[in-house]
């Protein structure tokens, strides 16, 4: 999908493209200007705004990232079935083309907003902003954002959520964290999915997968589960309970939390103009 540099112009970033001004060229007066700024500052800015929306309404927002087909939607289905009585849940679905995932979620009786990204292989903060203005945030406790299936691009974009969860299905191989360090470094929680299939795979070692995660200096917990066979889900629900409780506590203190990888980006943001 990226072979033509697919993730170029999205409905989210189109406004950043302004026609260039016509400036007359002169040969003299060369000068260097240093502007230490994040290249993604527009996205970061929008993400902060999104997080304020979530926080104002006490919503915890979670970004699910993984390869295509590693079980994000199946996990959401199982989670909604188990927790819809406990929490008011909505889902923002990022997909290249179809409404399939959103329809699977709606079939569970939960609101799902579909973002069709077209050729873009990640969600960005502007797209999520459009989606969350279609939701009455006061009606929800927990919002999941299912990112586009892709182990590369999504990790670079703060959407304004609070936690990153990276799924790794056992059919993908236990060395994925080493191959996609940017993605797995971003995880606040790593979910090993489809573990019911471990019995028929002879070369996937969950310990090795966790070791690869630690080699990225990531202390995030790893939980193993099977969404379709309902195995290991209790630990995942406990993690969610904790995350929601902690978030409410933070909000009472007037604090919030940014997902793992964006803490570094935030350092550069701050809207500072040019450094000398």
């Amino acid at each position: 999908m990226c072979d033509t540099c697919g993730c170029n112009i999205t409905s989210g970033n189109r406004h950043l493209l302004q026609p260039a001004g016509k400036l007359e060229k002169t040969a003299d007066g060369k000068s260097a200007v240093t502007v230490l700024q994040s290249l993604l500052s527009e996205n970061d800015h929008q993400a902060m705004h999104n997080r304020q929306h979530f926080d104002k309404h006490g919503v915890l927002a979670i970004n699910l990232m993984s390869s295509p087909g590693s079980g994000k939607t199946a996990l959401l289905e199982a989670t909604i079935d188990a927790l819809a009585d406990r929490y008011r849940i909505a889902v923002i679905e990022g997909d290249l083309e179809t409404e399939n995932d959103a329809e699977r979620i709606r079939a569970r009786g939960v609101t799902a907003i579909q973002i069709a990204t077209g050729s873009a292989c990640h969600l960005d903060a502007h797209m999520v902003h459009d989606a969350l203005h279609q939701l009455n945030l006061a009606d929800y406790d927990l919002i999941f954002i299912e990112n586009v299936g892709n182990l590369v691009c999504p990790a670079s974009f703060d959407l304004g959520h609070h936690h990153n969860i990276t799924l790794l299905s056992v059919t993908e191989g236990d060395d994925k964290p080493a191959k996609y360090p940017v993605m797995f470094r971003a995880a606040d929680l790593m979910l090993l999915t489809k573990t019911d299939l471990l019995a028929v795979l002879d070369d996937f070692d969950p310990q090795k997968a966790e070791q690869c995660l630690r080699q990225l200096a990531n202390p995030a917990p790893m939980l193993s589960l099977s969404a379709t066979r309902q195995q290991g889900l209790e630990a995942w629900f406990d993690w969610l309970d904790d995350a929601i409780t902690s978030h409410r506590g933070r909000l009472e203190q007037g604090e919030t939390v940014v997902p793992k990888i964006q803490s570094d980006g935030a350092r550069w943001h701050a809207g500072e103009p040019a450094h000398p």
């Binding site: 993730c7 260039a20 000068s31 290249l39 691009c153 360090p181 940017v182 200096a217």
Partner: protein
Amino acid sequence: MHELSICQSMLSQIEAVARDNRASAVHRVKVQIGPLSGVEPQLLQQAFPIAVAGSIARDAILDIELLPIRIECQQCGGESEATANKLICGHCGHWQTRLLSGDEMLLASLELDRATNKKTATC
């Protein structure tokens, strides 16, 4: 793989700096990238001319400086260089380390032509 959109975002910053400096052209754009930034230098280099076509930076050269990954150990306090998928301490081998640098993605500097005539830019 989102390098084109990064270039587009970078272009809006370049245009802002060029405007502030009443520049008539941008000759060189220097960026600094860490291996953990999620940006592929080669793809960025390819995307750049596409993104800046027709803009004030249309003839600009993109200079990419690759920054090293440096980590600080939370166990022994030592600093060391690391690779993208092995962020463990170079001294004691401990995995609980903190990234000091290596995830940057910065527009570091621009080389501009300043307009000398009175003609004002209209964007």
